[in-house]
Amino acid sequence: MSAPSDSPRDAPPAAGPLARSEAEQAWSRAGWSDGDDRRLTRLQRLTARFGRGTVIGVPYLWLLLFFLLPFLIVLKISFAEFRLGLPPYTPLLEWIDGTYLQIRLALGNYQFLLEDPLYITAYLNSLKVAFFSTVFALLIGYPMAYAIARSKPSLRAVFLLLVILPFWTSFLIRVYAWIGILKNNGLINNGLMALGLIDEPLPLLNTEFSLYVGIVYSYLPFMVLPLYATLEKMDTSLIEAAADLGCRPFKAFLTVTLPLSLPGIVAGSMLVFIPAVGEFVIPDLLGGAGTLMIGKVLWSEFFNNRDWPVASAVAIAMLIFLVIPIVVFQHYQQKQAERAEES
């Protein structure tokens, strides 16, 4: 629309403004002027903002109601003291004589966590179990994801379905099924004895072994799926290019496939590691009495000791222990990604 004013050299100076006003007239005759245009976009912008707000707002509201608020309640209880009654803890805010408001922050629960080695040992053990479970899940899940991603496209959907299929059964039932497999007169021991390979049952259940079997089995799909997603979209001509340039298959895997699947490895490991740290059901059912994991400690504080304040402190401490390294890690990852973008 500003074409005439864009090329003043072509037109005599006097014709410039005239031409422009003519053009403007033509535009407004056609029902289009700059003003109209702006009003239209403002309206559009408003609806767009509203639409975006709704789409983002709903999940935010959900998280606020069902995550942040409960979390704040737990935080509040962690600063209270145990008492007999309902609720079984002292209030945070209290009117004294009806004249002044008293805030009581009891830090003793956190101090107690540090004093009793049970809690620190349980935390460290949980981290250890989660770490090795993640490593095992990666060692098993990577070849699985790789094989699925490299299989025929028609077969991929079937394999993926097989990975997801266990989810259709209750998690609890699947863990109980492992008891049936691992117990002294269970599937494995009976089978081995029938074959005459062993004379008495191997102690499989309620050991570290059964604990790892349970966790790795339960969380394996969370490792396989993100790995599959990264491996599947990888350009296979990259591997061909590596081979073409004289790189043998295993080295091509190490120098090309593995580094390019790093995002999948990170995502899968996070999805296994984080829930594994706080896992309660599997150590309780498969891990036996000796297994010390923070989820179990938390549960017994809540339900056996009925000490809500200490239990809440355990939960908050676990969250901090977990969140801080994750945030630091994420921050580092993002920085690295940005650096990669820039270079």
């Binding site: 350009d235 001509s237 990259l238 061909e240 290019a241 590596a242 081979a243 073409d244 340039l245 004289g246 790189c247 043998r248 080295k251 120098t255 090309v256 580094p259 390019l260 990669a340 270079s343």
Partner: protein, 392 residues
Amino acid sequence: MTDAVLQAGAPGPAARPEGSRPGAVLRRAEARPIIEIDDVVKTFGEFVAVDHVSLTIREGELFALLGGSGCGKTTLLRMLAGFERPTAGRILIGGQDMTHVAPYDRPVNMMFQSYALFPHMSVEANVAFGLRQDGLPKAEIRDRVRQMLDLVQLAPFAKRKPHHLSGGQRQRVALARSLAKHPKVLLLDEPLAALDKKLREQTQLELVGIQERVGTTFVVVTHDQEEAMTMADRVAIMDSGRIIQVDTPHALYEYPNTRFVAEFFGTVNMFQGDLIEDEPDHILIRSDALANPVYVGHGISAREGATVWVALRPEKLAISRTRPDRAHNWDQGIIEDIVYLGGISTYHVRLDSGALARVTTQNLERMAEPDITWDDRVFVSWRHDNVVVVTG
């Protein structure tokens, strides 16, 4: 149809009339073979991708495999690279049987259509990748990488990651990477397909320049007839897994051996006819599409009465308002369309038989008034030595 008409520009200024490089062709005539493909067959299940292909490519040649999609050209190239194993036949590279040798043990390198640059490595690391596999000393790798980046004029971009480069720059990194190991043969799979038209034309000549400088044998797969003409010393035209003709671009254009080649390689007016007179010194062909018989001043190897095709290149037809003074090699019709392309114009003449003839003329004079216009009645004629007769 429109595409075909636009490509009528092929014999125009862009084409090289005498092969691509006459000197090169002479030099290569005595060069020894670097690739020998011996009766190679490749099937995928029921589908025959490459069907008994035999081909010899000489050292230092820029050779093009040309054909439409699914003609087997890429499968053939991938067999040279070692990504596919032939179902039958042998492939010799530099005199050695490479039929069942793995890609990483072959003295050839490939430039991929997608470029296949390693996205997590810098330009430098990409180019160095092949040299590292050979375990060359670091200093030598550094020198070779610098040399290659200079060759493709990308030295300032050595530290960048591939996704920070333009399409043309990526293409050059891919070239540098595949040339870095000094392969005996460089295989290029549609090397310019991802570039836009302008850049493609410029890069064609650049590639030829680089090939001449390094002296490596290039085997280029392309579906673009003009690209093959611009770049290659020799072109193999493929269709349904078979090689139809192997020759210089000039010979393919002027002496096509089949209808397929004549139609695929450039634009052509094709008329079906019967051989009515076959003498050692001339033949006569009668076609339902043409009012007068076609006279050709040499004999052909076909029986009298056989069905033949007369192939006439648009630029070898002449158009005029005056009736030619002879009994053959002309026809008349109405100008149906005129396509003005600047350097040349293409006239679409609807012959009285209903057939269409395309005639291109060069617009030599700037001020010339076009004396032939729409709906004019014109005469189309051609010289007898410009007629190509094919039998199948």
